[in-house]
């Protein structure tokens, strides 16, 4: 992170406020990236543990939400790699996990449609529309040009709309 060279000041607000304020956003992002389930839960916890470790040294002017979303991206990669190491061989795509009954995984059709998106569309959509990153920031995270990321996010959203609003819907 480029701001690391700045003189650092402690973040003085109780950390609980940060969990309350940004916990839901990070949950949406990791659920969109990994699918609702244990992997997303792991990524969420790891994100906030990393935030606790870094908290005293984060500069006061840090955009906390954007910072958390970038950490969540890295933690999602870590979780995916861990899951790949643990995985038994299977033909099922990892993002197509069962969601029934897990807290926060209402609307299984919607989350299944998100999981079915090509990865770049899914990430571009998650980081911008759910995580609030600018397309340029997403491009720094996942590579590619900001314009390509913007298109991927828009394409992903259109695909979702088509999947979830079939012919005959009023709009």
């Amino acid at each position: 992170m480029p701001r690391r060279d700045y003189p650092v000041m402690s973040m003085q607000q109780p950390f609980e406020h940060t969990v309350t304020e940004h916990g839901p956003t990070v949950a949406r992002v990791v659920r969109a990236v990994l699918g609702p389930g244990p992997d997303a839960d792991d990524a969420w916890s790891e994100t906030f543990l990393a935030a606790l470790r870094a908290w005293p040294d984060l500069p006061e002017d840090t955009n906390v939400q954007a910072w958390l979303v970038r950490v969540a991206h890295r933690k999602a990669i870590d979780v995916t790699r861990g899951a790949a190491r643990r995985a038994v061989p299977t033909d099922t795509l990892p993002e197509r996990r069962a969601t029934t009954g897990l807290p926060g995984s209402g609307e299984p059709d919607l989350w299944a449609a998100v999981a079915a998106l090509p990865e770049r569309q899914r990430l571009s959509l998650a980081y911008h529309y759910l995580g609030g990153l600018r397309h340029t920031e997403t491009a720094e995270l996942i590579g590619g040009t900001p314009a390509a990321v913007r298109r991927a996010a828009a394409d992903g959203l259109r695909t979702l709309r088509q999947t979830l609003a079939p012919e005959g819907a009023s709009r």
């Binding site: 109780p14 916890s45 906030f48 606790l52 807290p103 609003a165």
Partner: protein, 202 residues
Amino acid sequence: MTNDSTPTDLLDRLAAPTDLTGLHRLLELRAAQEGLLDVAYRTLDTPVGPLLLAATPSGLVRVAYEREGFDAVLADLATRIGSRVLLAPQQLDPAAHQLEEYFAGSRSRFELPLDHSLSSGFRGRVHAYLPQIAYGRTESYGEVAAHLGNPRAVRAVGTACATNPLPVVVPCHRVLRSDGSLGGYLGGTAAKTALLELEHAA
């Protein structure tokens, strides 16, 4: 659920509120295990109203009455001790349990590690002395001052009691005016009366 999905609808649905209780609990446990918390806290409903309980890894550091403003107390702890302040009720189970026993009349002294880092100087000496006033007994501000070898420090004892960071557990409610009248209390006089009645009845 509707199929009538504009992008905004879709995003609203993806952003629907979710219950993070389970995730939060996992964070509390892991953060405590890894020693990442400066302060863990919870609230506890008691006969004198909700109390905020806060602990550092060294012990119970703060008990606060609601009238002090829990948000203000937590902000103060974040500034004075460290900002890694997390709602983590399990870390306060022993304190909560002993307080429940106290309010039930079945506990007359607290056996908890205490973190006195919010007390210093003469106030700290007063706070360290107060637990020596036995359950069900009272002393005057002047008697406390005399016990501390500074009989003229009556007002300073009053100030120390008014700024006790660990009320109930460190029993500043057992200190009264020399004429026997109640004196002030940071939890309000009704709370002070309730604690004294509880202890006299037991």
